[in-house]
Symmetry: C2
Subunit: 267 residues, 2 copies
């Protein structure tokens, strides 16, 4: 990352995040993803240098312009601001726009739990999740994370709101094995167990088809989209660029902990 | 409710909630449940009169003693406190202990959205959800709710973190129809489609069995338990009385919006 001009501190934050993802067993979000971050910086789609800017803040809330920097740089900045506010007022809720792919959400939540706080982190993402009764993806795998301090080892929840992340479909595909029902859909919006078809990127929400409550996973993905895309007034849902394309800025939105901000302006 | 001595204002709050649940189509949580609230007050397991007490508060947080009053009385009190704090500091997060069954979580979330805020509400509940790889229920159907203002009609998410609520199993049972796979388990911890077996009260978490990511629903139920049972220092998980038993106080815990409080004291 530094060879292609990335600020060494930023490169270090990215390295720490990727290492942490691999260490915790999220191999799909570890060094496996380095090529994507390199391509984003090489093509100037992500900024290699600069600093996030606080656009607006209150006793418990903040809005951050990520200045199109690497996701982990923006996410860490936003979470540190949320931690500072939580220590003052009891809760800190910070939203960032103009950000990028930020890796595992749990890394940010654990920043807070390591300081004795409950930490939450969310991000929207490129469309891969097909809403109940729909055919095409309209939301990202929009993760939810909570870390709670618990003596030696925190409780950490870190989950995509789709049934599975695309990385799990990739693994079945490489192995030449079928998908369990309830993971992916075909281009006609029907469930599929064909891993090659699943690779086209149509994932069921958590819960799978309608009869097993897939609309709940869809609702949770909407919750994340409201916290991230809408509250930060940036790209959301189908307006986000396609996964692993680099023709334009991602302008993603990461939320660190709790916030208010006037939601009316976003809807 | 007033005939058995319930404070008329409290009876009115309960009535409004039950009516709202039916109106919104949550028939399992509407007037259908009135007999349970009556039994709780008749047997003195729930207090008919009194007021919730604020035990502790900060600029954005509050801890409420529900004084064993009806769930809707405690929940409404806690949400109003959260709304007041959110208007001051940007976020309000209030936890209540010593509470009771509070009906649909969405009712509380919508109290906030009707004032132009994002509203969230959570509650723990009697054990019905069987964790992944377990045989017996260890957590409630622990709902998550978010209401977001949106012009005329708010966005409302209001969902149990189990695959389905027990009420849905009851409906299949009355109809004499089988359950879809992924709803319920038998006493050996295997999935079942027999509605009579499902009535024994062993529900899959959202996501169903392990291969379709049921551990995510289990994780979300834990998130709710941390926000409610642990943060309020009251009953949690298997320590909560069995569903529809009345031999002792429920001491449930409802969370209205965002909070900090020192989580270390609870774990």
């Amino acid at each position: 990352m530094t060879k292609i001009g990335t600020n060494p501190k930023h490169a270090n934050q990215l390295a720490t995040l990727l290492y942490c993802a691999d260490y915790r067993g999220h191999y799909s979000h570890g060094l496996n993803r380095l090529d994507m971050y390199i391509k984003d910086v090489e093509t100037d789609v992500t900024a290699a240098t600069g600093n996030p800017v606080i656009l607006k803040e209150g006793p418990s809330t903040g809005l951050v312009d990520g200045q199109n920097l690497l996701g982990p740089v923006v996410g860490k900045f936003a979470m540190q601001l949320a931690i500072d506010k939580a220590k003052q007022s009891g809760v800190g809720w910070v939203v960032a726009n103009n950000s990028n792919h930020f890796g595992i959400a749990g890394w940010y939540a654990m920043e807070a739990s390591s300081e004795g706080l409950l930490g939450m982190a969310f991000t929207n993402a490129s469309p891969l999740l097909v809403p109940t009764r729909a055919v095409n993806p309209a939301l990202g795998t929009n993760p939810i994370s909570l870390a709670a301090p618990n003596g030696q080892e925190p409780f950490v929840l870190d989950m995509a709101t789709s049934a599975v992340a695309l990385g799990k479909v990739e693994i079945q595909h490489r192995r030449g094995e079928p998908l369990p029902p309830g993971w992916a859909l075909d281009a006609q919006g029907r469930g599929t167990t064909d891993a090659a078809v699943g690779m086209q990127g149509r994932l069921f929400p958590l819960g799978g088809p309608e009869e097993t409550s897939g609309y709940k996973g869809y609702g949770l993905a909407c919750l994340v989209e409201i916290f991230c895309g809408l509250l930060s007034d940036a790209n959301w849902g189908q307006h986000i660029r396609k996964w692993k394309t680099h023709e334009r800025k991602a302008n993603l939105n990461n939320v660190a902990k709790q916030l208010d901000v006037d939601p009316m302006k976003c809807v």
